[in-house]
């Protein structure tokens, strides 16, 4: 079954080995169709309000002053001139705000983390660190005052990369805990197998820092009612309850007095699951007792929030001559940036994805996070998995070359099989389709045909060289088993037959709300227009960890499906009383509960209305779902590139993404997520890098941070393998983070194939490619 949709072909593969546990594939009304995101009309007309668009009466405007030097001690902040500007209310800085510290990454109450940050600190640790905040009646006054603040800073020696920091030791005092944070060595698998006669291979990668570049920068509106003590925070965030624990603990506010509401989010990719903007806004609201709004500039979004870490990694392996790796050893250094934030966890969690596509009998993992005077590292789509697979895939390409094996064959040799155990967690990989992704992909991509064609093209020599590459990757669908993963849902049936759903979701702009409504509408067999669902609001929606870890569709979607089934059961139970017919003789279908053997039934709305009038009861159910599985979810991507050996520019000529997704919920939006992942991944592979200048300032402008734009993004062919998972809603597994994992290795592999090279310092910018070629680098046989 193939749908041709303009520039993109989306194919659906239904394998017979696994029968969908729900309904037949073709009878579903909503699942697998394409629906626009819930607020697309508002977004198309300018009516949708993002946090930076919100205004409330009496609102004050904030402007943030950030450091221009990378390391130093603040001796004085002179605000005299700034305060003299008409309409300036006050200036907050390290000498007049709370001394309490927080961790920007915390998202669960009681999470044990180092609290290294203050809202404003008297120690500056990076260019972009927060120094002060002007509070003013108008944005113009705030900006003018910002330029008049005088800050006296004693500079300290600085290092903007982990190697320099480690070798020099100059950052040993950057935090009371020091600058190096080791991860406990992990040895995985049984005893070391017999390694005699094996091939030993060692490879390494240097991955530079990336920025999320969400089109909407971080923003927040905060209000404080001095009469009631109520603090309200409106921001585009991925975890209302996570943000609540951090803000409430930081400012010593009871949890019930702090309300966090998720606003329309202009993209996240991980950048809005850590808290840099909201603490400043809340400090200003508490200080003034008035509503305040803060929007980060693009420069602040690049320097003063979070980035994907820079990373150095080495991979060593012992492999049999047939390419099967028997033992693998990874060593990873994560450049944490100026605050540890999530980096120690990030460094540790990388190895938890080691067995999510391949299986290795034995593995060892060592890692450390190192603080430097760089933008703070944090969550980024994939949370370390794209980096891990870049290192693994580069290793496989090197090994394949040494052993004269095809890159797809060596991967198949090592790919995990359905039912294999994840060696790290001891849990089953369930319905993993790693091998199927490679096999289907190389057939659809015509891998071997292209291989021959490229050989013929390149042997002619000349300016342009072509190459092909494959990238594989796996990911998870939830926190399980690292952390218990649960979701609460409530549903109310209104008297007119509409369903009001209450759950904590955070739409990043990738259609979470519509996906949940599709699942609920499918389950209740109701028109989707009758299902309503809001987003996270700590005053109203149930406790939830947040929308990250690729858990939303798999865990939250399943919770929604189960709750909808519970609502159906409740409707039958209510109808049974109202109709005086045993529940076992009733069925719910198409919005009506009716006797199985015929006769008049009651519509869902009638049941709700009659229950209210005659039983004095609302038709209401709540459900708590605890997820206890995390099957393998994988993808294999294939790229053909052409490298201009004069300029070092790379054109991606063909691109295929095969995704083992279990089941697609919203087809076009899912395809768009994969295509979007390829667009970001292509940037990470070829052009996007945050680099420091001599003053220690990193790339802070889109002029210098090169995103792939519309003419440069390749047409992406997509193949979904949809044979259902056991526990996901309608068989769905995750997609958002996974989709970016195979992209960089596929493109980098293709460039290296084109040049007969082994380039491993990413991104492969034109400069790096040209430098390689200038050093006699072209080595095509």
């Amino acid at each position: 079954m193939t749908q041709n949709t303009g520039t993109c072909t989306i194919a659906l593969h239904v394998y017979s080995m696994h029968v969908l546990h729900t309904k037949g594939v073709n009878v579903l009304q909503y699942i697998g169709t394409s629906l626009p995101i819930h607020d697309s009309v508002g977004k198309a007309t300018g009516g949708a309000k993002y946090a930076g668009d919100m205004t409330v009466p009496g609102m004050l405007h904030l402007a943030l002053l950030t450091s221009e030097i990378p390391h130093g001690i603040v001796r004085a902040v002179n605000c005299e001139k700034a305060l003299a500007v008409p309409e300036v209310v006050d200036v907050l800085h390290c000498f007049n705000t709370t001394q309490r510290r927080f961790n920007r990454y915390r998202n669960i109450h009681g999470q044990k983390l180092s609290n290294q940050e203050r809202v404003f600190d008297d120690k500056i640790r990076l260019v972009g660190d927060r120094i002060a905040c002007v509070i003013a009646e108008t944005p113009q006054a705030a900006q003018l005052a910002l330029s008049l603040i005088e800050v006296d800073i004693d500079p300290l020696p600085f290092a903007t990369d982990a190697k320099t920091a480690l070798e020099s030791g100059i950052l040993a005092d950057i935090h009371p805990e020091g600058d190096v944070y080791p991860v406990k060595e992990m040895i995985m698998g049984g005893e070391v197998p017999d390694l005699s006669g094996t091939v030993i291979t060692q490879t390494g990668c240097r991955l530079e820092r990336h920025n999320h570049v969400t089109m909407e920068t971080q923003a927040c509106l905060a209000d404080y009612d001095r009469c009631t003590g109520q603090v309200s925070v409106f921001s585009p965030n991925q975890s209302v309850h996570g943000l609540r624990t951090v803000l409430a603990d930081l400012f010593e506010i009871p949890y019930h007095k702090l309300r966090v509401v998720k606003t329309t989010m202009g993209g996240s990719f991980g950048s809005k699951q850590e808290w840099m903007c909201e603490p400043v806004a809340v400090a200003a609201a508490l200080h003034t007792g008035r509503p305040v709004r803060l929007s980060f500039t693009r420069e602040q979004a690049m320097l003063s929030t979070i980035t994907r870490c820079a990373m150095d990694g080495t991979v060593s392996s012992h492999a049999a001559k047939d390419g099967k790796i028997l033992s693998i050893d990874l060593d990873v250094t994560v450049d944490a940036g100026a605050y540890l934030s999530n980096s120690q966890d990030y460094a540790a969690v990388i190895c938890s994805k080691l067995f999510r596509f391949y299986t290795f009998p034995h593995a060892r993992y060592n890692a450390r996070a190192v603080c430097t005077n760089s933008p703070v590292s944090g969550a980024f789509r994939g949370w370390g998995t794209p980096e891990l697979f870049m290192m693994l895939e580069h290793h496989f390409n090197t090994l394949a070359k040494d052993l004269h094996l095809d890159p797809t064959d060596i991967r198949l040799k090592n790919a995990a099989l359905p039912g294999d155990i994840d060696v790290k967690t001891g849990q089953t990989l369930g319905e993993i389709r790693a091998g199927a992704c490679i096999e289907l992909g190389r057939e659809k991509f015509d891998w071997f045909g292209k291989k021959e064609a490229i050989k013929t093209f390149n042997v002619r020599g000349g300016r342009f060289r072509r190459g092909i590459g494959v990238g594989c990757g796996g990911h998870g669908n939830s926190y399980f088993p690292r952390r218990e993963d649960f979701v609460g849902v409530e549903m109310r049936m209104a008297e007119d037959g509409c369903v009001l759903v209450n759950m904590t979701v955070h739409d990043h702009g990738c259609g979470t709300l519509v996906a949940m409504r599709m699942i609920i509408a499918e389950t209740l067999e109701l028109p989707i227009e009758q299902i309503s669902l809001g987003e996270g609001d700590t005053d109203k929606t149930p406790l939830d960890v947040g929308c990250f870890a690729s858990r939303t569709t798999y865990v939250t979607g399943r919770a929604a499906m189960d709750c909808a089934n519970k609502l159906k059961d409740e409707l039958i139970a209510r109808a049974s009383l109202l109709l005086n017919i045993p529940a076992g003789q009733l069925e719910a279908a198409n919005g009506v509960v009716s006797p199985r053997n015929g006769g008049n039934g009651l519509s869902f709305g009638e049941i709700a209305a009659k229950s209210m009038h005659t039983e004095q009861r609302e038709v209401f159910v709540s459900h708590q779902y605890i997820s206890k599985s995390n099957p393998g979810v994988t993808g294999a991507h294939f790229a053909q590139v052409e490298v201009d050996t004069y300029t070092g520019m790379v054109e991606i000529q063909q691109y295929l993404a095969v995704q083992d997704i279990g089941r697609v919920i919203n087809r076009e939006i899912t395809a768009a997520q994969v295509q979007g992942a390829v667009a970001i991944g292509a940037g990470c592979a070829l052009t996007e890098a945050m680099m420091p200048d001599k003053s220690g300032k990193f790339t802070a402008s889109l002029k210098d941070y090169h995103l792939r734009n519309c003419p440069e993004v390749p047409t992406v062919q997509i193949e979904f393998i949809e044979d259902g998972s056991i526990d996901g809603p309608y068989g769905a597994k995750s997609i958002g983070e996974l989709a970016i994992v195979p992209v960089v290795p596929a493109i980098v592999g293709a460039v290296n194939d084109a040049l007969g090279a082994n380039l491993n310092h990413l991104p492969l910018t034109p400069d790096r490619i040209v430098a390689h070629l200038a050093n006699g680098g072209i080595a095509w046989n």
Binding site: D39, G267, T297, C510, Q675, G676, P711, P714
Partner: protein, 156 residues
């Protein structure tokens, strides 16, 4: 200065400073917040509006350049309560995700269709080169523009 210009077909007279940016005038003075600021330096295209029917960066245009000009923002496309053909195509083709680039993207596409009612895919890609979308890979956006061109009678 006194700024005398037309915004979404309505004549406007505003007292603003000569160096006030159009993006701020639209957002702060006229509450037209569909015009988004993404970078402030003309790199991302989120603030794109039409000035005399040409796609322009509202973050790089100041009041002193605007007297007598005709500005069209996203709020000025379509009639009240009804989407324009192009807006509808963006919705129907699922060309909208986080939506922050959408107003600028639609206005760049609108400016293209004004001068080139039957654009090729390459024409569309070039016209949208200055508008960054970070969510999608542009496929649905290109399709939406193709669909609108067709529905407006000019498609190839």
């Amino acid at each position: 200065m006194e700024l005398n210009f037309t915004v979404n077909d309505k004549p406007r007279i505003l007292a603003v400073s000569a160096d006030a940016r159009l993006v701020d005038i639209l957002r702060d003075e006229l509450d037209l917040t569909g015009c988004k600021e993404g970078c402030g330096e003309g790199e991302c295209g989120a603030c794109t509006v039409l000035i005399d029917d040409k796609a322009s960066h509202a973050c790089l245009t100041v009041a002193a350049q605007l007297n007598g000009k005709k500005i069209t923002t996203i709020e000025g496309l379509g009639e009240a309560g009804k989407l324009s053909v192009l807006q509808n195509a963006f919705v129907e083709e699922t060309a909208i995700q986080c939506g922050y680039c959408t107003p600028g993207m639609i206005l760049s596409a609108y400016a293209l269709l004004l001068t080139n009612p039957a654009p090729t895919e390459a024409d569309i890609r070039t016209a949208l080169a200055g508008n960054i979308c970070r969510c999608s890979g542009y496929h649905q956006i290109i399709r939406a523009v193709q669909r609108a061109a067709k529905e407006m009678g000019g498609a190839r």
